[in-house]
């Protein structure tokens, strides 16, 4: 019985996840002006440049709902192959050294 109780307590302790208490302590050290794409409608197999305009020192994180991204940093190239007709969202999140972050997204329509 005692052993079972011990196991139960361990499971509860392990399942408790420490909350992320790290909050930005200062105001953002950047201004995220825009996220722009050269083309918002693409044909399958085409590419477009996407550029994040930011004043300040930040790191960049890019994500996509579908398609391929090439490059890194403030500017990437988006391409869509045969698998990816429809609207796809490219999101760029910038983060400064104080963990302040901001995201912007563009939607690109890929057609046949």
């Amino acid at each position: 019985m005692r052993f079972s109780y011990l196991i139960l307590c361990m499971c509860v302790m392990l399942s408790c996840k420490k909350k992320d208490t790290k909050k930005p302590s200062t105001a953002p050290e950047f201004t995220y002006t825009s996220l722009t794409t050269d083309a918002s409608v693409l044909k399958q197999g085409d590419v477009t440049n996407i550029k994040a305009t930011v004043n300040g020192s930040v790191s960049y994180a890019w994500s996509i709902t579908a398609g391929s991204l090439f490059g890194n940093g403030s500017s990437v190239v988006f391409a869509a192959g045969s698998c990816c007709t429809g609207n796809h969202t490219v999101t760029c999140t910038v983060t400064d050294s104080n963990n302040n972050s901001e995201s912007k997204a563009v939607v690109i329509n890929v057609t046949n």
Binding site: Q44, D46, S59, S63, S68, G81, S82, C83, T85
Partner: protein, 317 residues
Amino acid sequence: MARFIFIFFLSIVPGYYFSQCCGGCNPIGGNTNQGTLPKYMLQVNGYHRNAYSQGYMEKDHSSDFKFVKNAQSNYEGLQVGYGLSKRLTVDLETGYYLNRSQYFQIYGYNYSLNGFGGSSFTFSGRYNILKDTVRDIEFTGGIGIKVPWSTKPLVTNGVELSEDVQPSNGAYGVVVRTFFLKEFDKAEFKFFLINTVNINSTNPKAYKEGNTYLSALFFSKKVAKRITAIFQIRNEIREHSYRDKLVVTSSGGCRFIFIPQLNYTIKKNYNLSLLYELPFYQYYNGIQLRDVYAISINLNMRFMLNKKAREICEKPL
């Protein structure tokens, strides 16, 4: 002895899926170890698989579409099986992509994407339903669950990689298998049929990879003291994939693959095999990258963990 040869045949063929299609594809979990192992037997099966894709196909003919110039992957697979009882075997399968790469040439510019990492774990059980020693017929069924290494997509240098080069599709799944064997001992000839169904769930990015249905027919013949030749004809059917509950037009299809295979018995319970996959008919929905070939090398080892059982097994026939 026949049992050992039988087990060997079951364990030498890594699973195959559409290797470079949209979505992370897990190359194991398909069709290995379908028969059951003897009680107390541990089987370890490691393999390396290199796959290459080039050019596009639209339905069953070549397409002029240009996007990915070529794609290749190198995968390390591991399967561990254990005979819990005479009829029941449990398995764990997993694998790691050393690389899963695509090379592009778009408007004269060269780009590449490189994914790597663990694919998934498959936990499964197999149960021997029928064993007729008079007619040398055996039938086994199995079911398992697939757990992805990670449900988060791989990000390199702050950029999320496309589905096509992700090491895992990030989705849970179910695998159902059946295995039928007919032996012709006098001719040292065997025939076996394997059917596998892979059911995929939707991943956290709302992408559902199409379910797959695999059927493989094997003919094997011993050609020398330590060498066995196996010819496999495999049919793979993949359903359409779905993104945000909308069908992905260029996904899924059907293909037939010829897979010649040579097996070499290094010593008792240690076997090495070499396989070459050559698709001879492919039909793709929409336009998709064409699989050209895949080569696999496989090492299979078996250990009898129970001393008494080991003595019986090692007794000269």
